[in-house]
Amino acid sequence: MPIELDDFITEVRGFLDAHATRRTGGAGDVQWGVGEDRITYFSTEAPEVEAKAVAVAKAWQRTRYENGFGWLTGPTDFGGRGLTTVHELVYDSLEAEYDVPDTGVLAVVGLGMIGPTILAHGQEKIKQRYLPAMYGGDVIACQLFSEPAAGSDLASVETKAVREGDEWVLNGQKVWTSVAHHAQLGLALCRTDPDRPKHRGITAFLVDLSLPGVDIRPLRQMSGGADFNEVFLTDVHVPDDHRLGEVNDGWRVALTTLMNERATVGGETGGPAGRAVSLPFLRELLRANGRLDDPATRRELASLYAGQAAAEYMNRQALRKLRAGVQPGPEASVSKLLYAQNLTRAAHFAADVVGPKLIADTGEWGTFSWTELLLSTPALRILGGTEEIMKNILAERVLGLPKEPGIDTKSPFRELRRSARSSA
């Protein structure tokens, strides 16, 4: 271990004390009616508010990076610190004690998923070019995977990449791209050989989003904001050195990204969605609505809280395992399922408690604000892999149940497309 944990902790504390303020007030303290009246899973704000938050996030990431905390587990060659996952976990838990900007816009997709993918599959030059810039807070990266026709069936991407000399020309449409409107870089899966089986004709490319032919359009979701984008690629010329992995071996690249996605979803209970399953917050909700002594409401609260607490125990235990060097397996999908279930349940529970004050904004704090969470809940069951896909993963990969027959993974993609279209 390059640095003793105790020394590391001292160093982190020194850094945080110098650059941030420690949080005050216990977790149990909730001042009902005070502070921002927002309960939501999504993060959309007015464009100017959002732009400012992105700038602040980038600045904080830069500060971390300049002080050696920007990429703790990354190789030193690319600006990383070369430390272990344990150091990272320790840093995270210490930082959580301070009021620091939310860096989710950089971290969740870019640093959490795309960074490791570039590290694993990128050419040396590309790693040098992008990794320090990403972990240094300058470049935000996004994922250009999903397409209108390739949702759960991700390996059916149709965006074409055709080689022209040292370049590839990309054409197609991507969708459900979060943070694209703030990003400078995208990781795109493209069809490079439709005559091979669908998983074997895909190639992965890093796409500079400032290139001509890249058109990013916000996609408004049902809760009102636009956390996602459609990205249209029209004759976008990408240099061959921006290819990740071999030609037609992009599915393996995608799996690296998805594996890291699984590690980041679920579990998260902080932020404006965390309130919805926080016991002190719910207690005050009941008190404010005169329902704290109603046995029917109490029972539902207890049931909701028990499920949420157990899910938190589960995530904590998974973290402990991770600390001990055990990689999370496919059973992590349970966490994602529960996260969606618990937030959904909490939203309807709150609706029951606030009653008609949820349907029209009377201005009362902590009532109509639940609508945004409520309207986010359907997305939780779909984003990052639908509930159905998660259950398939659990059944097939954890329990070893046989795959569905009649799913063709062997025929050339071109033929699959044709037959699907004629049968639909």
């Binding site: 609505n289 029917a296 004050k357």
Partner: protein, 384 residues
Amino acid sequence: MSAGDETTVADADSEELLALREAVRDFLAARSDEAAVREVMIGERGYDEKVWSQMAEQLGLQSLVLPEAHGGDDAGFVALSVVLEEMGRALLPAPFFSSVVLAATALVAAGDDEAAGRLLPGIAAGTTLATLAAPGPDGAWHTGEGALAVAASPADGGGLVLDGTAGIVLDGATADEILLVVAAPEGPTLVSVPGDASGLTRTALRTLDPTRRFASLTLAQTPATVIGQPGAAGPVLAQVLDVATAALAAEQVGGARACLETATAYAKDRVQFGRQIGSFQAVKHKLADMLARVQLADAAAREAAAVLDGADPEGDPGVASAVAHIVASEAYMSVAAENIQVHGGIGFTWEHPAHLYFRRAKSSQLLFGGPNAYHERLLARVGI
């Protein structure tokens, strides 16, 4: 629509009502399709006045269920249910529920010929928009707990004046005439207040469901006219709730069925993994569950309407309506959510109509108090 001396109870599957259903459906498809709904829902009034007039003039929908004596056709609640089901299916944004269901039922139930004569013909013709609210302490429907939020006191020159706030009034910003249940010295009293009354301030509220509008009303020494007897609003309100929850259930069934049909169509159309997703058993069984819920809600809503029409002399309209209110509220909410799930990503975009049904489903479920109120109401109706 015919009506005579003898009670003829309509069957929703009768040829006459099937024709009515078709007429309403065709009308709404032509005049209030999704594009039209989306335009109206971001507009200020929240409904299309031209469509509203045509509903009255061409189809006579506003007058359908009202008493013949006051310009109505006395067609019965089963007929009303058919109309509301279609409106629910199309998410029609219109003051139909507030004016024709809530206010008109209250006027009939109050048995006040003067008030009925003054307001019902206009409601039936669609030229008067009325609404009803019985605001309790939280501004929403008074469900028996706590005091009424608007107080009535004798005015200097006779009559009553009102003070208080009605926090969440359906179509309260656009109604020409607002009926309120208020706390008078004699007890809960039904009164009416014109929309332009002195001391009345109306504020349109941001709503969960943009196709259904609410307003907050504050009243300061606002003059009001008593309807029926002072202190007699309790039983009137009970009767209104029976009719309103049965009517709402029909509307909910219409919306729920639209969700089921959309999801089914999408499951047949959408291909993933080389197959229509509707061939995957998980999707199939989800849709079967949705179907079961819709059928159950449909049965309950039909029963409530038939019992209100007197089809089953042993049936109790209070019980049947309360059952329908619970079952339809939960079916619609669940089906509206599952419809999005079947659609996947596209289902939670703003552009897809699925969220409009989701919003309407939740809004309807909570309109008269939500689960906290409707379970106890059923037990009260069966005397437990």
